[in-house]
C-alpha cells in the first residue's frame, strides 16, 4: 500500500501562537484516518496545510506524492475538500451547483446520483438559500465527492447533525472507503472516530498525544479492566474472597475492582456468590472507553 499523505514534524505558528507544534503521521491509500481533538487543537490548520490553503512554518508534507504548497490543478483534480465552513451561491439550485462543480473535474460522478447519495434528492430543485444547516452540510459533502477524487478531506463533516443525518453520512463515508478512497477527517466526536476510522490520532494543543486504531488507542486494549457490582445485602468487603493482587474498594454501595486479570477474579467472585446463593446485582466488566482516554489525554477532565 502506497502512502497517500505523509506529514513530518509539521509546525505552524500564527504570530506567537503555535497552532501545530511538530506533528507526524502517515495515511496509506484506502485508509480512513481521523484527527480527533477539541476545538483549537490544530485540526483545521493541519488539514488546510494539506489542502494547499495555508503555508507551513516548518516540517514537510506530501499529498499524493506532491507538496500541496506547490500542487496545482493536477493535485486538485484528485482531491475532494469539505471545508469546516465555506459558502455557496445562495441563488443556485442544488442540482445546478453540483453539476457546475462536477464540470471542473476530468471524470466527475453523475450529479443526480451524488445528490441522492447525500440524501438531497428531494431538494434538487431547491435554491441553496432555502436549505437547513444540515442540508447545506450535506451539499458540502456532495461537492467534495462529485469530482470522484482519490483522496477526500473532511473537516468536521457532521458537526451540527441530528443523529439520523449523522448515521447517513457515516454510511456515505463508509461507502466511499469501500470504493478505495483515502479519507482524512477531523472530528471532535469520539463515536465518529470510532465508527469511521481505521486509525485515529488524538490532537491536543497542536501535538499528537496518542495514535492507533480506535480499539487500541491510549493502550485501551491492555489497560486494566474494572469489575463492579452491588455489595450483596449482609455482606461486607471483608467477606469477599481473595480476588488477586488488587484490593476492591467500596463506592456508594458498589464494589469496584481494577484488575489486569479479570478472568481469575470473576471466577473467584462468581464461585463465592454461587456458594452463598446470592446474586451479584449490576455485575459489570468494563474497560476505559475511548472517551475516558480522550479526556485523559486532552486534559479535558481537569
Amino acid at each position: 500500500m502506497a502512502t497517500a499523505i505523509r506529514v513530518k514534524d509539521l509546525h505552524k505558528a500564527y504570530g506567537a501562537v503555535a497552532a501545530v507544534a511538530g506533528i507526524s503521521f502517515e495515511v496509506v491509500e484506502g485508509e480512513c484516518f481521523a484527527l480527533l481533538g477539541p476545538n483549537g487543537a490544530g485540526k483545521t490548520t493541519t488539514l488546510e496545510i494539506l489542502e494547499g490553503y495555508r503555508d507551513r512554518s516548518g516540517g514537510s508534507v506530501e499529498v499524493l506524492g506532491v507538496d500541496p504548497a506547490q500542487g496545482g490543478r493536477d493535485l486538485r483534480e484528485r482531491i475532494g475538500i469539505v471545508l469546516q465552513s465555506a459558502g455557496i451561491d445562495r441563488e443556485l439550485t442544488v442540482g445546478e451547483v453540483v453539476a457546475l462543480f462536477g464540470g471542473y473535474y476530468p471524470h466527475p460522478r453523475d450529479p443526480g446520483e451524488v445528490i441522492e447519495l447525500v440524501g438531497l434528492g428531494e431538494k434538487r430543485q431547491a435554491r441553496c438559500r432555502t436549505l437547513s444547516g444540515g442540508q447545506q452540510r450535506r451539499l458540502d459533502l456532495a461537492l467534495g465527492i462529485v469530482g470522484d477524487p482519490d483522496l477526500i478531506f473532511l473537516d468536521e463533516p457532521t458537526t451540527g447533525f441530528d443523529p439520523s443525518a449523522r448515521r447517513r453520512s457515516w454510511e456515505l463515508i463508509d461507502s466511499l472507503r469501500a470504493l478505495g478512497k483515502t479519507i482524512l477527517l477531523t472530528t471532535h466526536y469520539m463515536d465518529e472516530a470510532q465508527n469511521l476510522a481505521d486509525r485515529v490520532a488524538i490532537l491536543a494543543a497542536g501535538r499528537i498525544v496518542a495514535e492507533g486504531s480506535p480499539a487500541s488507542l491510549g493502550g485501551r486494549d491492555v489497560a486494566e479492566a474494572e469489575i463492579s457490582f452491588r455489595l450483596p445485602a449482609g455482606a461486607g468487603l471483608a467477606d469477599l474472597p481473595p480476588l488477586g493482587p488488587a484490593r476492591p474498594r467500596l463506592d456508594d454501595g458498589r464494589v469496584v475492582l481494577r484488575t489486569e486479570a479479570p478472568t481469575g477474579a470473576l471466577h473467584a467472585l462468581t464461585g463465592w456468590a454461587l456458594a452463598r446463593r446470592v446474586e451479584l446485582e449490576g455485575l459489570a466488566v468494563t474497560r476505559p472507553s475511548l472517551e475516558d482516554v480522550y479526556l485523559r489525554l486532552t486534559g479535558g477532565d481537569r
Binding site: 483545521t44 459558502g87 471542473y104 473535474y105 471524470h107 478505495g180
Partner: protein
C-alpha cells in the same frame, strides 16, 4: 491510485470558461440588486433626464441635442456600475462567504474564474448599452453616428475592462464584504458628478475640472460622448482619453494581481464560524 479505470479528460479551457460565464450571468440575473443597478437604474436616469430635457440643446457642445450627450454619459455610468461597483461588492461579499475559498479548492483555474466574472460584467455592460441606445433611439430620437460606431464599441469595451480591473483591485483592498458597498459608492458617486456624465463641466470651477480629470470616469465619458457627437469629425477615437483610461486599468490589474485573496479576512479570518 485506485484500480478502477476512468474515462474522461480534463475539461478544455474554452468550454469551461463559457460555462463559468453562463453561471455568472445566471447569478447576476437572479440577484435583484445587480440587475437593478446595472440595467434598470441607468435606464431610469435616461427616461427621467431625457424627458425633463426633451428638445434641449447643448451650447457647450456646439449646440447638439442634449440627448446626444446624455445617452453616452449614462452608458459610461452603466459600465461603471456594472463593472466597478458590481465587482467590488460581489467579489468582496463572495470572499467573505467563503465562496471564493471553496472554488480555490477545485481544479477550476483561478484565471478562468476571474476571467468569467469579468466577461460576465462586460457582457451586461454591453446589454445595458444596447438597451439604452435602443430606448434612446425609440423615445428620444437619439442619432447613432454610424461612422463612429466602431469607436463607440471599442471605447465601451476598453472602459468596461478598465473598470473591471479597478473593481477587482478595490475588492482585493476592502477589508470585508460589509464595507464593500460603502467603499464602492463613496469612490464612485463623488467622482461621477465631476466627470461630465450627466451635465458638462464647462462652467465648473477650474479646480473641480482638474480634479475630475485625475480619475478615469471623466476620460471614459468624454471618449464615449465624442462617438455620439455628430459634430465630431473622423472615426471618433479619443486616443488621449483612452490612454488615461488604459493607464488606470493597468494600475488596477497590478493591484489586483498582487493583493487578491481567496479567503475571508474579516476579524478572526477564516476561523470565525459563519452562519450557514
Amino acid at each position: 491510485m485506485s484500480t478502477q479505470t476512468r474515462t474522461g479528460s480534463r475539461p478544455a479551457t474554452g468550454p469551461l470558461l463559457l460555462r463559468q460565464v453562463r453561471h455568472q450571468n445566471k447569478l447576476f440575473l437572479r440577484n435583484p440588486f445587480s440587475a437593478f443597478f446595472s440595467l434598470a437604474f441607468p435606464l431610469m436616469f435616461l427616461l427621467l433626464l431625457g424627458s425633463l430635457n426633451a428638445g434641449q440643446t447643448l451650447e457647450a457642445r456646439g449646440g447638439i441635442p442634449y440627448i446626444q450627450f446624455l445617452t453616452p454619459g449614462l452608458l459610461a455610468f452603466a459600465v461603471v456600475s456594472t463593472c466597478y461597483t458590481g465587482l467590488v461588492t460581489g467579489v468582496a461579499m463572495n470572499r467573505d462567504m467563503g465562496i471564493l475559498k471553496r472554488v480555490r479548492g477545485t481544479p477550476l483555474p483561478a484565471s478562468v474564474y476571474v476571467a468569467a466574472r469579468i466577461l460576465s460584467s462586460v457582457w451586461f455592460s454591453v446589454v445595458s448599452a444596447v438597451l439604452m441606445v435602443g430606448v434612446g433611439v425609440a423615445l428620444f430620437d437619439v442619432e447613432v453616428v454610424w461612422r463612429m460606431l466602431p469607436a463607440a464599441v471599442g471605447t465601451l469595451l476598453l472602459g468596461a475592462a478598465c473598470f473591471c480591473a479597478l473593481g477587482m483591485a478595490v475588492a482585493a483592498l476592502v477589508p470585508n464584504g460589509e464595507a464593500a458597498p460603502a467603499v464602492a459608492n463613496f469612490t464612485v458617486l463623488p467622482v461621477v458628478f465631476i466627470s461630465d456624465l450627466f451635465f458638462p463641466m464647462d462652467a465648473a470651477p477650474a479646480w473641480l475640472r482638474a480634479l475630475g480629470s485625475v480619475f478615469p470616469v471623466k476620460h471614459f465619458a468624454l471618449a464615449l460622448e465624442a462617438t455620439f457627437n455628430p459634430l465630431v469629425t473622423g472615426s471618433g477615437w479619443s486616443w488621449g482619453h483612452l490612454a488615461v483610461v488604459a493607464l488606470w486599468g493597468l494600475a488596477g490589474v497590478l493591484v489586483a494581481v498582487r493583493k487578491f485573496q481567496w479567503e475571508p479576512r474579516s476579524p478572526g479570518g477564516s476561523r470565525r464560524r459563519r452562519r450557514r
